[in-house]
């Protein structure tokens, strides 16, 4: 098969001989400069541990109040889940469902996905169903917006700090840690290696 020894750039379709990469090396396309292939260092261990940390932090990050305000003796605080519940309560169903998708559902599914994939590799429990599972995982690439939500928290703090007494709750800490661990879990993952292994095991 001629396509076994070749690789194509995802951005400009240029064709190259498949490079032999050692861990930590990456191959760049000479025509458009984008990274075509990468071997990440020790990714199964790293991604497994980060995603495990993310799963532990998941509940506190979503349920604990992120911040609260005090004005004229009244106090109120809100968690990530409260944001969505209040929006539903006020009739903004589209916004509520999209905030739920981008800030909770997609990041959670990606985190659990990364955990499941690395768990299967770590303990050698590869199944053919992982092929379609991992493909579905890739469809969600662009739609996780935890980092944007984090910036949203910072901006709303600035908006509130002048007129009210602002207090920061444990939820913010949990959210920041959750953001860090889920980001690390997905950037330490090495999809090329996973695909190659799955192919060698279940196809041919």
């Amino acid at each position: 098969m001629k396509n076994k020894q070749l690789i194509a750039c995802q951005q400009c379709d240029a064709l190259y001989d498949k490079p032999e990469l050692k861990q930590g090396q990456s191959a760049k396309c000479v025509r458009c400069g984008s990274v075509m292939a990468e071997r990440k260092v020790d990714f199964i261990e790293r991604s497994f541990n980060w995603s495990l940390a993310g799963i532990v932090l998941l509940m506190p990050a979503i349920l604990l109040p992120i911040m609260g305000v005090t004005l004229a003796g009244q106090y109120n605080n809100a968690s990530l889940l409260d944001c969505i519940l209040v929006l539903i309560d006020r009739g903004f169903f589209m916004i509520a469902s999209l905030v739920f998708l981008f800030a909770i559902a997609v990041p959670v599914v990606r985190l659990l996905g990364a955990f499941y994939i690395t768990y299967s590799f770590k303990f050698n429990k590869l199944k053919p169903s992982l092929l379609s599972f991992f493909r579905a995982f890739h469809y969600l690439d662009n739609w996780a917006m935890l980092n944007v939500f984090m910036l949203g928290i910072v901006v709303s703090m600035y908006k509130l700090i002048d007129d009210t007494e602002l207090s920061v709750n444990m939820g913010l800490m949990a959210f920041i840690l959750w953001l860090i661990s889920s980001t690390m879990a997905s950037i330490s993952l090495d999809p090329d290696y996973i695909w190659q292994e799955l192919e060698d095991n279940f196809i041919d």
């Binding site: 400009c12 064709l15 009244q74 109120n76 999209l98 709303s156």
Partner: protein, 217 residues
């Protein structure tokens, strides 16, 4: 001239990056399934320019009410004070919080407009081939793609404020109708960017260069 996968009858799967051999598939119009991940894929995204253009126009239309209607209404002692995206930025400028004003202005005005105008430009360049610089243009495309989700900033801020500032009669915040339109703008521009296939830039360039060489002979 660089060999491309397309010329060799190969096609890359967008999900698993496997190179599929198309030479043994007779019916190219049929839906292709990747040999490795069984996902649907195409050699080039079909009707990429048309889809990009359509999503782009939809985004542009949704962007108008997004800026005209109030995005949130701040109630204080029963009196409502509606603010649009621009007037919200104005308040930050008045308070002297310039960095925050710049961040919001970038995320809610510059990025959506840059994406819409930029994608129109890319579609035009690929369609006509005028002054096509694939190296520059594909980098530009990646910047647009990266910036897309950050426009959701304002939506998240409003969602947080509505939930946190809920002190009954003293003060409360309500979301305004603009937030729906603004979210649609962001989603539509993300779909538009996803529909564009940067490989078309290189294809066009190569076909232009190819016909030039023939003319020289």
């Amino acid at each position: 001239m660089i060999n491309t996968a397309k010329e060799q009858q190969l096609a890359l799967c967008p999900q698993c990056h496997k190179l599929n051999d198309l030479s043994y598939i007779a019916d190219k119009e049929k839906k292709l399934r990747c040999a490795r991940c069984h996902g649907k894929f195409y050699q080039r995204k079909p009707n990429s320019l048309q889809y990009t253009l359509a999503w782009n126009i939809a985004a542009l239309i949704a962007f108008i009410p997004a800026n005209l209607y109030p995005i949130m209404i701040i109630y204080s002692l029963g009196i409502g004070d509606p603010s649009t995206i621009l007037s919200g930025i104005g308040q930050f400028v008045d308070q002297g919080l310039y960095p925050i004003a710049v961040i919001i202005f970038t995320a809610s005005i510059i990025v959506p407009l840059l994406k819409i105008i930029g994608l129109f430009l890319l579609v035009y360049r690929v369609y006509t081939g005028v002054r096509l610089r694939p190296d520059k243009h594909s980098k530009f495309y990646h910047v647009l793609e990266f910036l897309g989700p950050w426009s959701m900033l304002d939506v998240f801020v409003v969602a947080l404020l509505v939930a946190v500032v809920e002190l009954g009669f003293v003060t409360s915040v309500a979301a305004g109708p603009a937030i729906n339109y603004f979210t649609l703008t962001v989603i539509f521009t993300m779909f538009a960017a996803n529909s564009f296939d940067p490989r078309l830039l290189w294809d066009k360039k190569q076909s232009i260069d190819g016909s030039k060489e023939e003319n020289d002979k």
